[in-house]
């Protein structure tokens, strides 16, 4: 079982009123950056980095980072910079990039170079995730959302070729053109850093990942929907000639622990101001899913997937309306004392059977002190217990699987 820690590194020093008064009442994209105070940012960045550095001591196997643009909900606007810092300031944990938003880049070679540089500075600890980015990322970078998937696939193909084929070579694609592909620096890991794909389970991406043997990380999806997704992946994997196991699947879950259930109940409320923003003001649909972004609804699997996401009250921005108690009762967020958390996690792990667990320990306005205590308890009690459960359920992770096959 591979255990990686995650937080979106939220900035919360603004009011619901400010969001309501902003263009289209949106906390992302157009919420004016005049609401940003760099002094607060300076404190928060360094606290967030302190927390990640402490995670090494606490015993996490990986430090998971993500990236969003034009939003207070995630300070990691360019995740690779934070990754570089952690590459230098930590020694053991994997640095898991979940992930670089490929379609928003005009120059995939630069992404290949950056990741190679970080892979070397970290002494070969990078896991290179790739994502399509939310609609906001397309809008912030002003990349036509209709080309999102095409660009994702072409940028991916070019990056992998750059890492695995000696240069110089030429690339004349649809979206990318280079006559001299030959960055001198290459990743330390051979043939290239592991690629993991996080997402909400879009069928096209699942099949694409399965065909390439890339582990797929479900981002807090509902247990039944996750089962459907595993089926789609498994079917595509079998067609590609292999049998997927827990090492092909990951699950991201909000898990917050404190000394007592009561204390945890209070401090986990930060989740309500995290990725949905202060005041949980509903986002305009066109921001997250601009025209053309979602794929063809003619595909019944896509239609089913979109319906599921839309109806899920506890997923991502669906959280805008559900009550805190409703969410906790659903067990989609796991909050409590070590004992409570371990008990609830066992259920989740038994159903979903992921080899990789993303532990989203805190978010929003949960204090730095509470976060540090949470991480401490994770290290002392929760992580060892999850490892035992993982062993018992035979939840093999990709690195164990690799070690076995060697």
């Amino acid at each position: 079982m591979f255990l990686m820690r995650f937080t979106e590194r939220a900035y919360t020093t603004y009011t619901e009123e400010a969001v309501r008064n902003s263009p289209n009442e949106a906390v992302r994209l157009t919420f004016s950056n005049s609401n940003f105070d760099p002094k607060v940012g300076a404190r928060q960045y360094n606290e967030y980095l302190d927390e990640y550095e402490y995670c090494e001591e606490a015993g996490f196997d990986g430090l998971m980072l993500n990236e969003h643009h034009n939003t207070p909900t995630c300070l990691g606007a360019t995740m690779n910079l934070e990754a570089a810092i952690l590459a230098r300031s930590t020694k053991k944990p994997k640095i898991v990039l979940m992930g670089n938003p490929l379609p928003t880049f005009e120059n995939p070679l630069r992404v290949a170079e950056e990741i190679a540089e970080i892979d070397m500075i970290s002494n070969g600890r990078v896991v290179s995730g790739f994502v399509r980015g939310t609609g906001v990322e397309s809008l912030a970078a002003n990349i036509n959302p209709l080309h999102n998937r095409e660009r994702f696939e072409e940028a991916h193909d070019l990056i992998i070729k750059t890492w695995t084929t000696p240069g110089p070579f030429r690339w004349e694609g649809k979206h990318y053109h280079f006559r001299v592909v030959n960055p001198f620096q290459m990743p330390l890991q051979k043939p290239h850093p592991p690629v993991w794909i996080p997402g909400l389970g879009s069928p096209q991406t699942l099949v694409w990942a399965a065909e390439r043997g890339y582990p797929y990380i479900y981002l807090e999806t509902d247990p039944q929907g996750t089962q459907d997704m595993i089926d789609i992946y498994t079917e595509a994997a079998r067609e590609s000639g292999y049998e997927p196991g827990p090492e092909n699947f990951g699950y991201l879950c909000r898990i917050h622990v404190q000394d007592t259930d009561e204390k945890a109940y209070e401090s986990a409320k930060g989740f309500l101001t995290g990725n949905v923003g202060v005041g949980r003001v509903p986002m305009p649909k066109d921001y997250m899913l601009p025209v053309g972004y979602g794929g063809s609804k003619a595909d019944p699997r896509v239609a089913k997937y979109q319906g599921r996401i839309r109806k899920d009250p506890f997923l991502g921005l669906g959280l805008e309306t559900a009550s805190y108690d409703q969410i906790l009762d659903s067990n989609r967020w796991i909050v409590g004392s070590p004992e409570t958390v371990i008990r609830k996690l066992r259920e989740t792990l038994s159903v979903i059977r992921p080899g990789i667990l993303g532990v989203w320990t805190n978010d929003g306005d949960t204090t730095h002190a509470d976060t540090m205590r949470c991480l401490e308890l994770m290290g002392q009690e929760v992580l060892p217990a999850i490892r035992e459960i993982g062993a018992e359920l035979e939840l093999t992770d990709p690195f164990q699987k690799m070690a076995q096959t060697v």
Partner: protein, 260 residues
Amino acid sequence: MVAFTEEIVDVGGTKVHTLKGGSGEPLLLLHGAGGNNGWLKSIDALAEKYTVYYPSHPGYGKSDRPDWLETIPDMACFYNWYLETLGLEGIRTIGFSMGGWIASEIAAMCNHSFSKMMLVGAVGIKPNEGEIADLFIISPAQVLDLMFHDPAQAPEYQAVYGREFTPEEMMTAEGNREMAVRLCWKPYMHDPRLSSLLQRVNMPTRMVWGRNDQIVPVECGELYKKAIRGSDLVVIDNCGHSPQVEKPDEFIKTALDFLA
């Protein structure tokens, strides 16, 4: 030798330096990325039968360089205005190399500009197997090496390429090269849309290629043939990228047969 004149055609304020000579129906010649090489033997032969218009593209030689003109489709649009200014319509054309790409874009854009089109070693469509040689990363001398299969068989090679150039000519050559970079840098010497755009072209079209073209593979001629209904491809043996200079007799024969 047919007499020719140098004329300035004013297209909405942009001056286009044009060589004009001969008699008969009009024939538009569109030069390649390197620029207008002047009134060579093959052009003279064409002027025996046709009134030849041989402009330097905007941005090249003595023609003006409008700031807005940055792509081959811009160039095609501009040439439609040029033809309109001269009162020409439904005429014959030959496009050499990059000029072939311009001719194809004009034909795709406006179905009554041309009546017959000949493309010689044309860029514009990306080959599937080979590559269009990267002319911007090598020196002009290396480009010249690639251009000819056997320079010794090109009667005008010495006159055109083998002499000392004046500083003004060097400046012009550098400026032409810069214009080519402006137009063709990315995607390099091709437009992914072009094959699809050519589906509506329905005029007689002939591609002419040197079998040993090291700059634009013969495969590109085949792709043009596939894209343009009813077109044909004539491949000249033992010949490089510029049949009109390297094998002028064969080129003239093929051209006159087709244009007649």
